[in-house]
Symmetry: C2
Subunit: 85 residues, 2 copies
């Protein structure tokens, strides 16, 4: 079965996010004043084969731990949906 795994990766609270600060400044400059904070992270979509949803989530968790996420400075969230029902 094919699953689409959506991995959201974002800076941990307290970690300086220079990209987010730059985007916030740019948004304010073009008129979006009512802005408290902006944080920029990554959105990774992975289409993979797995026997069931739990296996797909487990695989995605391993991918995050081994390659995709830097746990020192980033948090992540995993969402899974089945493709081509």
């Amino acid at each position: 079965m094919t699953f689409l795994v959506k991995i959201l990766i974002f800076p941990k609270e307290g970690v300086l996010d220079t990209q987010g600060k730059a985007v916030a400044r740019s948004l304010k400059r073009i008129g979006f004043e009512a802005l408290n904070d902006v944080r920029v992270g990554k959105y990774i979509q992975v289409w993979l084969e797995a026997g069931n949803e739990a296996e797909a989530i487990a695989k995605a968790g391993s991918m995050c731990g081994e390659l995709l996420v830097n746990n020192l400075i980033e948090d992540h969230r995993i969402e899974v949906e089945r493709c081509g029902l």
Copy 2:
């Protein structure tokens, strides 16, 4: 009211995603063989002030159109949640 707007930005179908290809190759190299495709996009969190949820979504839509999204090559999705209920 403060809202957290989550903006998911990802390459349009058919657009070459070199970053995604590189990540896919790396994942395969470390043992994740059952992989069909990987696409890498951005995940932007914006905390903003708005009168209600519809206004927050409208503001986020304008931010995407004016600065955050390149509509030629990227699609996006907006999710909103109210903070500090």
